[in-house]
Symmetry: C2
Subunit: 183 residues, 2 copies
DNA sequence: TCCCATACGGTCCGAAACAGACGGTGTGGG
DNA sequence: CCCACACCGTCTGTTTCGGACCGTATGGGA
């Protein structure tokens, strides 16, 4: 799917939010975002106006212009849009510095996806965080007795704490989901 | 200090790294960043070339151009640069969605700062995370029995886990630092 | 010896993203 | 009737981003 690489996280926020809420105007999106994922995912409201337009051009949304009163555009998901969103949810999450964020985003929109998506995501995340923890632990032992960098180690500790917390979360989630599936 | 608002996190990464390593070329920065804070703070290497130049213009760095061989520029901190960096470390960390990142950054460079900086930072962070946790808990109880959003709650759980982890870290750090100070 | 692969060191540029100022349009109340 | 204010949206100049691209050394294999 070629459109996919013209899409950014913001695109999926828009698609996902419309998928959850149904047809929406930009302002609706603005408020919805502010009250929900806006808590952990930031972007300037201006993009909530330009992004849907782009998505219309890509055929993932369709716009309907109100004639009476203020001319507001209402966007609704096309079949292609829904397909794209679901494909994204089903697709492996590229490991990356922003990994946590992307994964959170996918998790947030999970209900739009398919059965196994959450489990897959969780498995990936468990693996990724384990790996990261290994890297950090390695750094820690390697520099353990270098006084010069001792002070910097503290950041590492924070990193480890966070990684462990994430790992705990995804592991627990995986367990829950696995149980459900086998039930 | 008027220069301060021409500075971005990236600027402080540059200043801080040079403060820690001593005079450095852009390439040095590139590698140093890659091996240390690059693990949790991303940016494209191109900025490690343009940013120091900007900082020279602002008087926070001075450049020395090697004549023989390849013409590489070595940057060193000026007194103003060090002052600026220390001021930043001492300054309250604006609460923000990116708060965690900024705080991590300050923590990483803490050894350049003054005595009380870490404690102050930790106190701020403890307060900020507590507040955030309160907000999340509030959301949770408020939406607790709305089936419609039940699936979305899962993200909230992740958020809470992470917040708690951060809170634990900063609290522990605060204790340690406080002990040291009173000793 | 010469050539090629690879690491080093750096520049450049088009495309997004960003912050946030700005500007209309309803609407309720004094 | 008019003013204040919340609503809704646009626009713009600056940064940032990713990543393609380009020379220069180096060293090791043919």
């Amino acid at each position: 799917m070629v459109v996919a690489d013209r899409l950014s996280p913001t695109s999926y926020v828009v698609l996902g939010t419309i998928a959850l809420r149904g047809p929406s105007t930009s302002y609706d999106l603005k408020r919805a975002v502010g009250r929900s994922i806006g808590y952990f995912w930031h972007f300037p409201h201006a993009q909530l106006y330009s992004e849907p337009q782009r998505l219309v051009e890509l055929g993932l949304l369709e716009a309907e212009t109100e004639v009476e009163g203020r001319r507001r555009r209402t966007y609704r998901l096309t079949d292609e849009g829904l397909a794209e969103l679901r494909a994204w949810l089903a697709e492996p999450t590229p490991e990356h510095f922003q990994m946590r964020d992307i994964a959170e985003l996918k998790l947030f929109f999970n209900e739009v996806g398919e059965q196994g998506d959450v489990a897959r995501l969780a498995r990936e995340q468990v693996a990724a965080h384990r790996e990261r923890i290994a890297v950090y632990e390695d750094m820690r032992t390697r520099y353990a007795d270098l006084d010069a960098v001792a002070k910097r180690m503290i950041t590492l500790r924070l990193g480890l704490e966070m990684e462990h917390a994430a790992l705990r979360f995804w592991s627990a989630l995986l367990d829950e989901v696995a149980e459900e599936e086998s039930a």
